[in-house]
């Protein structure tokens, strides 16, 4: 049943110009930045050769590209998820799902995987771009893969947060603003500590911190736990909210 709902959600997303325009814009920005990074690398290539522990092409080109892609997700995901439940509520199609023999969990997970399928396409396009470097330069496959893993974690947890706000608010725009607000807060929350060296809770809360750790090639279970916790708690709240109207008070 989750598959049925996910398939419809994905079809609906890919039928709108929204998905394609977002994919195209992300590609455009990344490609531009990609070329700029290559340019930078070529400029300093000779200098880098003389340094003993110089960063390779992966550190100079691939990791920054993933960083930019991650930042674009902050803008991209709220727009993608904002109408997934609230749009159904507004268009009056939610009763179809609610009067069918499906649970709220199946509805939320179906939506999640539907959005996930579009994000997977985005992930693929992001993953393919650095591979073109392999014609001319050696890539650190380990760093490349862990960067992609970090990006996938980010996609999943952001989609979950967006979905949560889409169930909490009736107006899609409000859901988008709240999603963007929370995600950018989590992104930047440890800036306060960067000045004062006081690591701890704020550093742990920062998604940028976990993302950078992972994409630099350091696979740490704490980072996985962070993204998994964000993902599951957001989905749990979404399910709880969707059940709200149907469960006796």
């Amino acid at each position: 049943m989750i598959g049925v709902i996910a398939k419809r959600e994905a079809t609906a997303l890919f039928r709108t110009p929204l998905a394609w325009s977002l994919l195209a814009m992300v590609q455009f920005v990344l490609a531009y930045q990609f070329l700029a990074q290559i340019e930078t690398y070529l400029k300093f290539e000779d200098k880098l050769r003389t340094m003993p522990e110089a960063p390779g092409v992966t550190e100079v080109v691939v990791t920054p590209i993933l960083g930019i892609a991650a930042m674009l997700l902050l803008f991209f995901v709220p727009i993608l998820t904002m109408a997934s439940i609230s749009g159904e509520r507004r268009n009056g199609t939610l009763p179809l799902l609610l009067s069918s023999p499906v649970t709220s969990r199946q509805i939320v997970l179906g939506k999640f995987f539907g959005i996930g399928s579009l994000l997977f396409v985005l992930w693929l396009t992001v993953a393919l771009m650095p591979l073109t470097l392999m014609w001319g330069a050696p890539i650190d496959i380990g760093a490349y893969l862990s960067g992609l893993l970090a990006f996938a974690c980010l996609c999943a947890s952001y989609a979950a947060v967006g979905l949560m706000f889409s169930t909490l608010f009736t107006q899609p725009a409000v859901g988008a603003v709240m999603t963007f607000g929370l995600l950018s807060f989590l992104w930047l929350v440890d800036w306060a500590t960067r000045l004062g060296e006081q690591a701890g809770l704020l550093t742990y809360l920062s998604s940028l911190n976990h993302f950078q750790q992972m994409s630099s090639g350091l696979l740490n279970s704490a980072d996985f736990v962070y993204f998994a916790a964000l993902c599951f708690s957001a989905l749990a709240i979404a399910i709880w909210r969707l059940d709200g109207d149907r469960k006796p008070l």
Binding site: V4, R15, R246
Partner: protein, 308 residues
């Protein structure tokens, strides 16, 4: 169990922002019954239908569909529900075929069963020619029919239709009525409508809802023929049931009565004779040409007469 009700609702109540909008709704529906749900706007019709279809929880009370409690085992109960809300729940970016297949799969039909159900529903609702078109490009009448097709697709035991003929032209209304009539043989149908003649033509039973209470719940035949009587100078309440041809009567105040009859000629004679015999003045006696409308207005328009 041929006689067990397909749907039974008991003592449903619901509050909105602290205001009680449903005051203990009781309903029972058996196979072959078509219940017409009437009431002024805001009486609680849509709220009741939302509760019966599992979209909204009642604050108290119970809904049982085909023996399954809607709250305790919603998945089993909802397999037997087909629901058309006031706004048809359509995805405008999908084609009619895709949409109906999705609905069928959502109701737990296999992919093969879905295809059969799709063909049958399209045939029943006259949608065969528009199967490949986007729902967003269809006219209102076609959209309404897609909404109805969606509710009948999985051949549910209980079909709940909120204003099914809304927005249709007269020919389409006739077609939808024929569909509902055909349905009634094997299913139980609840439909709400503002068109009283439609309810009279389609329904076997009428429930009138007013201020969140069911004020009237009877079979249609019992109410089909009636008359209005005004008696003056009466010294005791007449015992209407004893009169020839009279089924029952309701006092409306001021000596006015709404009398339900099974034989108008007999009943009119009996009332005249009875009044003469008692020495009462018969001020008015007229046949009700549209008894359902009279009933509706009596129950919902004039509050003092509705709650004696």
């Amino acid at each position: 169990m041929p006689d067990a009700p397909l749907l039974s609702a008991q003592k449903l109540t619901r509050y909105y922002h602290g205001r009680k909008v449903l005051h203990g709704i009781d309903l029972e529906l058996r196979r072959g019954e078509v219940l017409g749900f009437l009431g002024p706007n805001g009486a609680g019709k849509s709220t009741t239908m939302n509760i019966l279809s599992g979209n909204l929880a009642a604050h108290s009370g119970q809904v049982v569909i085909c023996g399954h409690d809607l709250v305790r085992s919603p998945l089993l109960a909802k397999r037997h529900i087909g629901y058309l809300p006031e706004i048809p729940p359509l995805y405008i970016e999908t084609t009619v075929d895709e949409y109906l297949i999705f609905c069928a799969r959502l109701r737990g039909l296999s992919s093969g069963e879905s295809k059969l159900a799709l063909e049958k529903a399209k045939h029943d609702c006259e949608l065969t020619e528009v199967g490949g078109r986007l729902i967003g490009n269809l006219s209102k009448g076609f959209r309404q029919r897609v909404g109805i097709a969606q509710a009948l697709l999985h051949s549910p035991a209980v079909v709940i239709l909120d204003e099914p003929t809304n927005g249709l032209d007269p020919n389409q209304i006739r077609a939808v009525r024929a569909t509902i009539n055909a349905l009634a043989e094997r299913h139980a149908v609840i439909l709400s409508s503002h068109v009283l003649s439609e309810v009279q033509a389609l329904c076997t039973r009428v429930a009138i809802l007013h201020h969140g209470r069911i004020e009237f719940n009877e079979t249609v035949e019992q109410q089909l023929d009636g008359m209005r009587v005004q008696l003056l100078n009466i010294d005791s309440e007449p015992i209407w049931e004893r009169l020839d041809g009279v089924t029952n009567a309701t006092a409306l105040g001021g000596g006015n009565y709404r009398v339900v009859v099974d034989d108008y000629e007999k009943a009119a004679d009996a009332v005249c004779n009875f009044a003469k015999q008692k020495g009462w003045k018969l001020r008015e006696l007229r046949r009700d040409t549209s008894p359902l409308e009279t009933l509706f207005v009596d129950l919902t328009c004039n509050d003092t007469s509705a709650t004696p």
